[in-house]
Symmetry: D2
Subunit: 180 residues, 4 copies
């Protein structure tokens, strides 16, 4: 199999903790503006054309069915470009959105990799840039399908759940994204 | 295929720019002590047992045949654990070392992923943590073989060279690490 | 005038935004544990013995009269060491606490410098380490009295107020901490 | 004494370790372009108009008498603005330049504060931003005279020397910048 020397990846942003910012006015964190562009610039990706598509900026607990329809619509549109897609998303309903996409896209020809963060990009100890880096690599290497990339692991979306106590994702069985 | 819930990766460190430190006494950068442990701690890898094996700490231009024999010996020893290996290495002779390992290990059953950096870990604009993150993910996802992971791309070692003008690796043809 | 080669400064911590941490469980920021020690270690202060006294860890809007009595008591105790004091404090009632100390300590023989932050230490764009650095220098250079050190300015506490719209302190007249 | 609500400080840059950059081509650090502007932007100085004057970018061991004449000329020109001056400078001959300025400017009406760094701005463990922050505060607070600001201490230039073993400045007696 061969890829063009420069390959294309889409990053569809929907919000979640990864993109939260601290407000000096209110003393709280919230989803306001996308900040992924600023952090993607810290990565060197000379062979990769990364197209950021800022779709919405929501805490995933506030994500509605209508929002998921919107995400699916945008994923369908991007898939016409025949490129893998990374979706940044809040962790609380990431699997729900992923399963919805998996059901709606039975003939998927590209990887769709969901990722997010437990601590916002740019806060001390953030896992955001790590997860973003991993999902961009995973999107190049895994087979077509819907995945969650998080904390050094790649899970098919139907084999993962968020463990709220541990504050991370855990596989529901031992399967990972490695080709069989 | 299934992996155990916690998988094991070895990180064999040989030096290179990634591990260089700035000396206040001399005003220059050099390979002194390994510092990868400190940076690995910035990553969250709850499902991954990362075993760091600090073998040597050399600028890769000073690496000798004897050093490569040592690296091969350690790789052989680690492969008995049946785990993937990431090797951190200077960029100037990374491909040379990789090709040597590839020739010496025709029956390789695990991924061996070489990586390094153009700017030392912890210096402004460093690509070190990105490359380390990518190589740890790649080591889980690619088939058995010897690879270079760098700047968002994974190359089979026989299809990549360092471009000194560009200051990075470029594929010698279009092939990447994605399974055929 | 001469100081001993190594001088002593006390840092009395009371909380405020400077010390807030992001909680992955709740998705909010709050005062939990002191983190100033971790950030003081980023500064090189070879001639300075910095004694951190963690007194409380409160949002300054929740600070009570009883808390201020406690702060005053600790300041009195430290002043017996004949050393300058930096107090980290929430910005909303920093001036109130400072004026209370000024009234209660008419015979002050040392500088007492209040400081804080608009964004917590370790969050992108934080002003915390800057303000801490400035207050430690100011505590060495200004005359006895109560001051606010913030964003590159040193104000006598009776000549400053927080401007909530601007999100910083402004002088109520032109006076600064420079000796007359 | 009263200062205008917004005060002016000049930052005259001459190079030194503080401004060194790592070159990926050569694997060494050198003085190439000024980078102080980028780091000054990390500080919040709303009451302070900081005017950066990039004069030269030299390792201070390579600084010549002609360079010091140039520095003196620029200092004289800036003093006409009646504003304090921070001079960034390599540490090896910082005191030499400072003593030269002190002799040449017996009627100095403003503080002239020399500073620098042991590790370049933006390298792990750098003391550059700390020293820059401290010198900007010191320039507001000390009396007219020539000083070195470094690692939390402010020394009159005739009472300080670089200790090469310790890798920092030490006072030659106990005097500091605090007003008598």
């Amino acid at each position: 199999m061969s890829l063009p020397a420069t390959h294309v990846v889409y990053v569809l942003t929907t919000g979640g903790t990864m993109e939260k910012v601290y407000s000096e006015q209110t003393g709280s964190v919230a989803n306001v503006d996308t900040k992924i562009d600023r952090y993607l610039k810290l990565l060197r990706l000379p062979d990769c054309e990364v197209n950021v598509v800022p779709l919405m900026n929501k805490d995933s607990l506030e994500m509605t069915d209508a929002d998921r329809v919107l995400i699916l619509g945008m994923v369908r549109a991007i898939l016409k470009e025949n490129a893998p897609i990374v979706i940044t998303h809040g962790t609380d309903t990431m699997v729900e959105t992923g399963l919805y996409l998996q059901r709606a896209l039975p003939e998927l020809k590209q990887p769709v990799v969901l990722t997010g963060a437990m601590t916002p990009l740019g806060f001390e100890g953030s896992d955001g840039l790590q997860n973003l880096t991993e999902s961009l690599i995973a999107a190049q290497l895994v087979r077509a399908g819907v995945y969650v990339a998080f904390h050094g692991a790649i899970y098919p979306v139907h084999r993962v759940r968020k463990d709220h106590k541990l504050g991370r994702f855990v596989g529901t069985d031992e399967a990972r994204g490695r080709p069989d």
